[in-house]
C-alpha cells in the first residue's frame, strides 16, 4: 500500500502510437502525471486529443497490432505496467485499477444478467464462494444506490435505464475495491440530472474508500465540481497541469484560456459565443514546433522561430503549476520537473461561481 506522499499511479513520458493507413498517428506523445490517494485527477481536452487513449494505455486495453507502446513508464504498486506480463495485467484490471466507460447503454453484455456480470468480476479477483459473491454483488448495487438490489441481479441490461446502467457499471468496477478508478467520460451520455447524481455517487465512494479517480472529460463544469488536480491535454501532450482552483483562477496556457472563454455564462450580456479558431492538427501530421501555435491568440501574426523550432516542454512555472507554452511568464527559467501534485487541501470545497 502507498502512504499519502507516494502516488498511487505515476505515468512518465507515455507514448502510444497507432499504425494507420495514413501513417503513424502519435495519439499520446509524452504524457506524465501522478495520481494520489483520495484524489481526483481530471484529464481535460477536446475530442481526439488523446485522453481516452491515455486511460486505455494505463490498462493496456488497446489491441497490439495497430497500437505501439513506444515509450514511457507507468508505475503502479512498484511495477511498470507497460512492461508487465499479460497475466499480471489481468489481475490488475478490475482488481486494482478499474475502469468505467462512456456509453452505459452498450457497455454491458446484453445476453447475461446483471448479477452474472458482476459476480464474474468478483470471482475473478477474490477467493469467495458463489453465495458470498452474490452477496457482495448485492451490497455493491446497494452502495451505488440501486433500489431492490436482489431483484436487479437477475434482470437483463435492457431492462434498466441509462443512469441505472452506469450505476451498475460503477458497482461492477468497485466490487473488488480497486485502488484506482478510471472514469472515461462517465456522464457524457447521460442527461444533466443523472449526471449530477452519478458524480455525487463517485465522490461519496471516494470519500469512504480513499481511492484515486482519473476522470476524463471535456466538460469544464464537471471538472470544476469534481476535480482536485487538472491536466489539460492538446494534440497528444499535456499543456497545463495544476490544482483546480489555481487553473481556473490563473490559466496560463492560451488553450486553457480559450477553453474557459468558450463556456457560456449566465447573466452576462448576450454576445456571440466564443470559439477557438482553427482545427486540431491530424495526429499523423503534427507540426515540429508548438502544436497549438496555429490557433494561438498569442502567436497570431508573430511567427517566431522559437515556436517553429521545438515544442515547448511542460515546466513548473509556479509551484504546483506546470505549463507548456512560450508565452508564460518566467517560462524560460522554469525548471522542468515531473508533474505531480499531492493532495493539499481539505475536502470541503466551496462551489465555484463565475469563472
Amino acid at each position: 500500500m502507498t502512504d499519502n506522499n507516494q502516488p498511487l499511479l505515476r505515468v512518465r513520458g507515455l507514448k502510444t502510437y497507432f499504425n494507420t493507413e495514413n501513417g503513424l498517428a502519435l495519439a499520446v506523445d509524452g504524457v506524465s502525471f501522478s495520481l494520489f490517494k483520495n484524489q481526483t485527477l481530471a484529464l481535460v481536452g477536446e475530442s481526439g486529443c488523446g485522453k481516452s487513449v491515455t486511460s486505455m494505455s494505463v490498462m493496456r486495453l488497446l489491441p497490439q497490432p495497430p497500437t505501439i507502446y513506444a515509450g514511457g513508464e507507468i508505475h503502479f504498486d512498484d511495477r511498470d505496467l507497460l512492461h508487465a506480463p499479460e497475466a499480471d495485467m489481468q489481475k490488475i484490471r478490475g482488481g486494482e485499477i478499474a475502469m468505467i466507460f462512456q456509453e452505459p447503454m452498450t457497455s454491458l453484455n446484453p445476453v447475461f444478467t446483471i448479477g452474472d456480470q458482476i459476480v464474474e468480476a468478483i470471482t475473478l479477483h477474490q477467493q469467495v464462494s458463489m453465495k458470498q459473491a452474490v452477496d457482495i454483488a448485492e451490497e455493491a448495487l446497494r452502495r451505488v444506490g440501486i433500489s431492490e438490489p436482489r431483484r436487479r441481479l437477475s434482470e437483463y441490461p435492457h431492462q434498466l435505464s441509462g443512469g441505472m446502467k452506469q450505476r451498475v457499471m460503477i458497482a461492477m468496477a468497485l466490487a473488488c475495491e480497486p485502488q484506482v478508478l478510471i472514469a472515461d467520460e462517465p456522464t457524457t451520455a447521460l442527461d444533466v440530472t443523472i449526471q449530477a447524481q452519478i458524480l455525487e455517487l463517485m465522490r461519496g465512494i471516494q470519500e469512504s474508500s480513499g481511492m484515486g479517480i482519473l476522470l476524463i472529460t471535456h466538460d469544464l463544469g464537471v471538472v470544476a465540481e469534481n476535480a482536485d488536480v487538472v491536466a489539460v491535454m492538446y494534440a497528444g501532450k499535456i499543456v497545463e497541469y495544476a490544482d483546480v482552483y489555481e487553473l481556473f483562477a490563473n490559466p496560463l496556457h492560451p488553450y486553457t484560456r480559450g477553453l474557459l472563454n468558450c463556456v457560456p455564462k449566465l447573466g452576462g450580456e448576450s454576445t456571440r459565443l466564443a470559439t477557438i479558431a482553427g482545427m486540431v492538427p491530424s495526429p499523423t501530421r503534427y507540426p515540429v514546433g508548438c502544436r497549438f501555435a496555429a490557433r494561438c491568440t498569442e502567436c497570431q501574426g508573430h511567427i517566431r522561430e522559437k515556436e517553429m523550432a521545438a515544442h515547448p516542454e511542460l515546466r513548473e512555472v509556479k509551484p504546483g503549476h506546470w505549463v507548456a507554452t512560450w508565452h508564460a511568464q518566467g517560462y524560460e527559467s522554469a525548471p522542468q520537473t515531473e508533474p505531480s501534485l499531492a493532495f493539499r487541501r481539505q475536502r470541503a470545497k466551496a462551489k465555484l461561481t463565475a469563472v
Binding site: 486495453l61 499479460e86 484490471r93 456509453e103 453484455n109 475473478l124 479477483h125 435492457h158 457499471m169
Partner: protein
C-alpha cells in the same frame, strides 16, 4: 407468445396457398402432362389411336383433370378438388344432402404415386430418414470445422491464418459439387484407378448376413464419399458468418468492459462474444430444415442414394404429378416451419427479443 405463434401459423396459410397454387397451375398447364406416363414429350403426341385415347382419358380422370363424363374441369375447380382431397375438409352436415364445407382440415392424404404405384406418404417415410441422416451428419461436420475456424480467423484477423482460411473456404465453396463428386468417384471408386470406396448406394448388396458391427461399418464406409461431397462447400458461409459476427462483437463496448474487468482475451472471446455471435448462426442452423427436400439432388443422383432429392428429381422427369404436388406442399410447410422455429430460438437465445 402463444398469440404470436398462432398469428405466424395463420400467416403461413396464404403463403402455402400461393405456393401450391403456383405449382399446381404450372404443372397442369404444361404440355404433355395430361397424356399420362407414356413418355410423351412436350407438346404431346396424339395419335388418334382408340385404345390410346381411352388410356389418356383414364389417366386424366385419375389426375382430376377430367370428370366422369369426360368433360374438362376448369383449373380453379381442379385446385379446390385437390385441396379437398388432400386435406379432407370437414363438412358440416346440415339438411339432407347439404353439407357445408369449412376450412378445417381433418386429415392429410397425399395421394398415390403413379410411377411407383405406392402412396406418397410411404415413399416419403422411406426416404426421409436417408436424406435426414445425410444432412444431419453433414451439418454436424460443417459446424465442427467451420465454427472454430471462424473464431480463430476472427482472433487472428488480418494475419496469414485469416487470409488463408478465408481463401480456402471460398475455394471449397466454389468447387462445383458434381465435378468434385465425379472426380472423387472417378478416381477413388473406380477400378481403373483406385477402388477405395464404393461408388453407389448406401449399403452393400447383401446385408442380411452381416452382424451389427459389420453393418454399421459398411454403412459408414458407404457414407464417406457422399458426406465429403456434401460437406466441403458448407464451411465457407458458416465460417464467414461466424467471423463477421465475432469481429462485430469483439469491437463492441461490452467486450471492452469484459477485458477491463480483467478477463483474458480467450475468455472474453469464448464466453461473452461467442454467446452474442451465435444469434445469426441460429438462422443458418434452422435453414437446413428446408434442405431436407431438394437440397441434395445432385449428390443423391450421383451416388444413387434413394433419398428425397432423388425422388423429387425422378418424379419431375416422369411427370408424376401427385408426388410433385405433395413434395411441394411438404417443402413449403418445412420452410415456413423453419422460419417459425428460428424466431422461437431467437426468443430463447436473446433476452432482448420478446414477442409479447
Amino acid at each position: 407468445m402463444l398469440t404470436y405463434i398462432l398469428r405466424r401459423l395463420a400467416l403461413m396459410v396464404p403463403t402455402l396457398i400461393g405456393m401450391t397454387l403456383m405449382l399446381f397451375v404450372i404443372v397442369r398447364f404444361a404440355p404433355g402432362v395430361g397424356s399420362g406416363p407414356g413418355g410423351l414429350g412436350p407438346g404431346g403426341d396424339m395419335q388418334g389411336n382408340e385404345a390410346r385415347l381411352e388410356q389418356i382419358k383414364k389417366h386424366q380422370q385419375r389426375l382430376g383433370m377430367v370428370d366422369a363424363e369426360g368433360n374438362k374441369i376448369p383449373i380453379y375447380k381442379q385446385y379446390f378438388i385437390w385441396l379437398d382431397n388432400t386435406f379432407k375438409f370437414w363438412r358440416v352436415p346440415m339438411a339432407s344432402n347439404v353439407r357445408i364445407p369449412t376450412p378445417i382440415p381433418t386429415g392429410i392424404d397425399l395421394g398415390e404415386s403413379m410411377q411407383y404405384r405406392k402412396p406418397v406418404w410411404e415413399l416419403v417415410k422411406e426416404r426421409v430418414p436417408t436424406t435426414a441422416t445425410l444432412n444431419i451428419i453433414s451439418i454436424f461436420f460443417v459446424y465442427l470445422i467451420a465454427l472454430p475456424g471462424g473464431m480463430l480467423a476472427a482472433a487472428k484477423r488480418g494475419r496469414s491464418f485469416d487470409v488463408a482460411w478465408g481463401l480456402t473456404t471460398l475455394a471449397l465453396y466454389s468447387l462445383p459439387t458434381m465435378w468434385i463428386g465425379s472426380m472423387l468417384i472417378g478416381f477413388l471408386a473406380n477400378p481403373q484407378y483406385v477402388k477405395l470406396f464404393p461408388a453407389a448406394g448406401l449399403h452393400a448388396t447383401d446385408t442380411r448376413y452381416m452382424t451389427f458391427w459389420q453393418y454399421s461399418f459398411d454403412y459408414m464406409w458407404h457414407l464417406v464419399l457422399p458426406i465429403i461431397t456434401m460437406t466441403y462447400a458448407g464451411f465457407a458461409y458458416l465460417s464467414k458468418q461466424m467471423r463477421a459476427s465475432m469481429l462485430d462483437n469483439l469491437s463492441q463496448d461490452y467486450a471492452r468492459t469484459a477485458k477491463a474487468k480483467g478477463l483474458s482475451g480467450f475468455v472474453v472471446a469464448t464466453r461473452h462474444v461467442f454467446r452474442n455471435s451465435l444469434l445469426p448462426l441460429i438462422t443458418i442452423a434452422t435453414g437446413i430444415i428446408p434442405g431436407l427436400i431438394g437440397g441434395s439432388v445432385i449428390i443423391e443422383t450421383m451416388f444413387s442414394i434413394k433419398g428425397m432429392g432423388e425422388l423429387a428429381f425422378r418424379s419431375t422427369l416422369a411427370r408424376d404429378l401427385p408426388v410433385m404436388q405433395a413434395l411441394g406442399l411438404i417443402s413449403g410447410v418445412l420452410v415456413l416451419v423453419s422460419y417459425l422455429i428460428t424466431d422461437l430460438c431467437y426468443a430463447v437465445a436473446d433476452p432482448r427479443v420478446s414477442y409479447d
